[in-house]
Symmetry: D2
Subunit: 413 residues, 4 copies
Amino acid sequence: IMSKGTVVLAYSGGLDTSCILVWLKEQGYDVIAYLANIGQDEDFEAARKKAESLGAKKIFIEDLRKEFVEDFIWPSVQANAVYEDRYLMGTAIARPCIARRQVEIARKEGAQFVSHGATGKGNDQIRFELTCYALYPEVKIIAPWRIPEFYNRFRGRKDLMEYAQKFGIPVPVTPKAPWSMDANLMHISYESGILENPKSQAPPDLYLMTKNPADSPNEPDVLEMEFRNGVPIKVTNETNGISKNAPLEIFSYLNEIGGKHGVGRIDIVENRFIGMKSRGIYETPGGTILLKAHLDIETFTMDKEVRRIKQGLGIKFSELVYNGFWYSPECDFVRHCIAKSQENVEGKVQLSVFKGQVYILGRESPKSLYNEELVSMDVQGDYDPCDASGFIRINAVRLREHHRLQGFSGKKQ
Amino acid sequence: IMSKGTVVLAYSGGLDTSCILVWLKEQGYDVIAYLANIGQDEDFEAARKKAESLGAKKIFIEDLRKEFVEDFIWPSVQANAVYEDRYLMGTAIARPCIARRQVEIARKEGAQFVSHGATGKGNDQIRFELTCYALYPEVKIIAPWRIPEFYNRFRGRKDLMEYAQKFGIPVPVTPKAPWSMDANLMHISYESGILENPKSQAPPDLYLMTKNPADSPNEPDVLEMEFRNGVPIKVTNETNGISKNAPLEIFSYLNEIGGKHGVGRIDIVENRFIGMKSRGIYETPGGTILLKAHLDIETFTMDKEVRRIKQGLGIKFSELVYNGFWYSPECDFVRHCIAKSQENVEGKVQLSVFKGQVYILGRESPKSLYNEELVSMDVQGDYDPCDASGFIRINAVRLREHHRLQGFSGKKQ
Amino acid sequence: IMSKGTVVLAYSGGLDTSCILVWLKEQGYDVIAYLANIGQDEDFEAARKKAESLGAKKIFIEDLRKEFVEDFIWPSVQANAVYEDRYLMGTAIARPCIARRQVEIARKEGAQFVSHGATGKGNDQIRFELTCYALYPEVKIIAPWRIPEFYNRFRGRKDLMEYAQKFGIPVPVTPKAPWSMDANLMHISYESGILENPKSQAPPDLYLMTKNPADSPNEPDVLEMEFRNGVPIKVTNETNGISKNAPLEIFSYLNEIGGKHGVGRIDIVENRFIGMKSRGIYETPGGTILLKAHLDIETFTMDKEVRRIKQGLGIKFSELVYNGFWYSPECDFVRHCIAKSQENVEGKVQLSVFKGQVYILGRESPKSLYNEELVSMDVQGDYDPCDASGFIRINAVRLREHHRLQGFSGKKQ
Amino acid sequence: IMSKGTVVLAYSGGLDTSCILVWLKEQGYDVIAYLANIGQDEDFEAARKKAESLGAKKIFIEDLRKEFVEDFIWPSVQANAVYEDRYLMGTAIARPCIARRQVEIARKEGAQFVSHGATGKGNDQIRFELTCYALYPEVKIIAPWRIPEFYNRFRGRKDLMEYAQKFGIPVPVTPKAPWSMDANLMHISYESGILENPKSQAPPDLYLMTKNPADSPNEPDVLEMEFRNGVPIKVTNETNGISKNAPLEIFSYLNEIGGKHGVGRIDIVENRFIGMKSRGIYETPGGTILLKAHLDIETFTMDKEVRRIKQGLGIKFSELVYNGFWYSPECDFVRHCIAKSQENVEGKVQLSVFKGQVYILGRESPKSLYNEELVSMDVQGDYDPCDASGFIRINAVRLREHHRLQGFSGKKQ
């Protein structure tokens, strides 16, 4: 039988993508299994063997952790990237990282097709596919959960299990949690299943990356984070002298400390790109520490009006990334502008991590615009307080005119 | 001797404004002492007696707590008002509240002058005076800390103490804290003195409104907050059944719970309107709980795109209020728009307060745009996953074109 | 044969929608022909007869001109709605007007389906359908130009002509212009065909609504436009005393004057919602006059900072409307905010229309914030020029600090 | 007598700054007269002699025309800089150009002071002085029109004339126009005097830079403008073959053509930084042509979403420049971002200039994202119209949900 061509499948090792792998073969494709290591807790060798046993033509297990931190987490730190005021986008920034390598493999292997196991209602399908189209415009995408032949055949987990048994796909021995989960170096997200009811509280044993603050240590860890160009270049634990200075090591250590103290748990309802509201629970320990520390050093070193403009760009960046446009002309542009704004974001922040919280304790910088003498209540310095009278009166010109007009119109304040 | 006219002085009962009161008399003014109760911890009767003894022509002690909550805190809650991503503006929203009454008194008493004890480097002078000019355009403002005759005479606390002794002004018996402080129902702020060094950590005994999270209870309080039109109309403590439903009572209760669990402490450097960076430490217990709860119910009930526009308006609102433009045509306009956006922000949020943190547990609303069936992974419903393919491909049109052009230009991704 | 149901077809009387009408019948639908009069030059009675002869079950010819002006053009005037700095959106605002009535008819007639002749690459399909879905969520939409059975059958005009002949559809006797065109009260747009080459100049005889400025009168018309709440309530031609004060009459008169003087011709490339660039030529005579006049009276009467916020909302409004979201929660919200901003936009503007241009000559308003005495170079009035020194020096605090830091960093200006 | 120090005075050669020169000497300063040639019509040698005769210690006449075009006009073209939708800011961009050289001279000559003749109610004082403070933070500024001793002595033109006669300052022989005027390469502005009444029409003989469109040629000039990096690199008159390719030559030629055809006249009310509304009349012939041409090539070559973000940055840029913040960290940042956005803004625009209007005729670019095949109505190409159905339906998810909720709330559309 003639092959329909080669598909690079983003393979997770789980039941869904295992069934997809077999199903794609059934449809006549050669399948290359591609498994990205972005820091999730996974037995990659077992996954390799499984993919082999299912008939993958070739298997790529790629350690993307370093580039995930440097190329995706770091720019997000510079941007103070938060979607809808709360979500740090651990999943959203992982998708372009995974898909970028996937299309590199597809190009290298001459595959015309890529495939993934993302569902048809979610954001991830969009993030995967926009990345693929942006970097490999002529690629063809097979999204089984949007193909009626597939989704009508696999209407529930039971169908997948039966299919697995029929085709010799090893099935999970532990029962599935009543929610779905996505893990990487940045965060773990939990959604669907019993969490779909937005009123139901998350069970306390759901969290895997962070300790319950009620059970976390009664002593804080005190860290000093050093930044240059808006990204951390060193973290030192002042409690025990431990110090890290490579990006992946820094981030992993912040995860460790944040996890130990229960930092970064949120329970939110968010707006998906496709216009639905969904409920998600996230834990982002290291990312939360970094956000707080970066906000502090940034405000300390950046001009006020640059900060205001950059804040708007950061919000834009977050929307773009959440919606899957990491690889787009506008996101390239925004990233460039944000990176430019970070040139003086340099210095050290002292902070304490304790019981789910991050407390900023102090900061210092050779590039700070903070001028202790200028602001001091005890020193007049170069500043003439009389100038403030003129400043205020000129700012009031407009307000007084407005009042005059209101008087004319007979309106009341 | 002819009086130069009548001044309404925003009087705090402290050393500075007591000296100003006497100094204004010395300059030939009749002085009306005006003391606003906006929830600070103060012996108002003692302050009245002190003002009388210093020769105030008249004394107004005004309980503004209810209007502070309803007219100033509530609109800020609707706006999710946060300045520079962190500061909840407890001082900034108190100033227009205080000054509004001050000019009402001035108008009623036929006073042409108002005066205050705010310094010449800070934001508060601006907030006070812009409010005064906006509501009483022809008013004349006496800001002693910007008048050379005054500030050259009182170069330090020692000069004030000597003046006080000379003019029989009672002097504080307890030594002054090595920082200055501003308290009201919303928050306490701490700044200057030893805090001017941005690296120096705040001493643990600084905080008066919140308990140290290390010493706070080991059991959370679980609250249910009910909102209508984007403001709380009821709070119930699910732990003990206590319930409040009047604005001032609700807010005071949230302060109590937040304070008990150490919620709302921040240490930041911020950008003043006059272009200096300053370091401030704030504790905003009830306001922090409210911000988190409101964000949750708002995102749950508000359309995604309305939310995006409203988020921008909220940032604008925060800048305006921080800079002293509460009473301005643009802030009126923004407040109106934000209030409009809150019409469906209605429902209940469950949350837990523990060790300095606020954890959202769940939410429900009769007005929610959340559609459990639509978003469910287990129900297809009205939603056709195939539509997503078209959605993604159309979104990719532009990205693929961009890639085509890049190919042309010989550029690299 | 059982009918598949009833379709309300947006019928234009032209070849395309006539073929669609017959084709829908062929597919088993009952067809209601709906023809909206939004000011295009059309023989509506001939169109009615044609639809009857083609077997339409029912025919609605609806005069929407008044509501088009009042409900769609007027809010756009308030918004200064311009897409991508140039396009006044005559087509974009007509689509929701047409589709609103279409779904009213569908609901009233119990039709489950609506249909239209818009192409699959354009914006209009989106504008029609988003309106339909927003106002009649359960409606089913038949878009033949996106149905393979249809578009594969009708690959070019020749196929339509053959089909027309076969089914007795009257065919146009005049040859089709080598571009397509969309006309209504607001504008005529020209695109595709020979205009698809963005370098080809539009032929001079293309324009139907405006005279060539080279041939337009050598004398201007001088108008006075009176506004209230940001919309015109009266226009008077000062040259001849002609005066109009009903919305449709005002707008039609402005079209007449603008057309006579060749006002409002543009040739642009724009970005469609679906991510393509397209070239369009537009003539919007009355709308162009109104935009200029409204901008003038608005700036004259609106506070500067309100104007700045409102300018942003106007740009947002334009994007939403261009993209088809007239009926959306966010567009409702933005329209509400913009309308609020217009409460004082009242007064008279004098302008001259000549050779393709609109020249503002002067303006007056009972609500203006313009204060001739305040601004006068010859009168000092209440304004103290010394205040400006303080204003400037305080604004410079930040700039001087920045310079200090740059010195530190050794950077050059 | 000891000199109080050296002042660099921005000298225009006119009556005001001649009096200021003498007055500064009277006050005990050494005065360096600095006269910038930014393209105004001026007898510079006569001005030099005059300054000499008035006792200037040194005289600098600086030809800044080239740097005005390259460093100030070009970035404004890239930004599509327009203040409040109409004003092209010819004065606002000249001020930092002039003041930059002024502080260079002051530094070089060891002068601690700079001075200018701008009034105390206007924008120019701010633009001059913010530039000076930004580039020479320790400079001292003498603004006579804000010094009571000066402005009380010179309450009107009569006082200046008397002073001039007393001190041998040559007085103008022609009567002053009943308005004031500011001219440079970019524009001439007219304001104050009889123009302070916003209803009074500008007299037809006011304009000096542009011909009255009624008297302009009856034949257009047709130009081709070539852009690279968002700035013009060549202009060719297709009518006569004349071609220019150096910045100053290009801009001067556009002024010539625009002036010949009466392009760029506006009569507006604008909001000054200090909160007043003022009426200004401007003629900006070359700048208006450039704005239209740049808008066209930019939209033709720039990605839609980049354009949207850049549009916001351009508005911000305009506000900053209008308010005098050309030299500020935020304006540096915005200029950098805008310049980045222009990297692909390259190609040729054909346009016709006629009777006060600029008509775009066509455009071409090697970097365009315009895809004639993709957008063609006659070619399906790679585009699948069925995708649009999914795109629309997904965009409608949110709108349909909103309608569902409205039904619940019993609200009406």
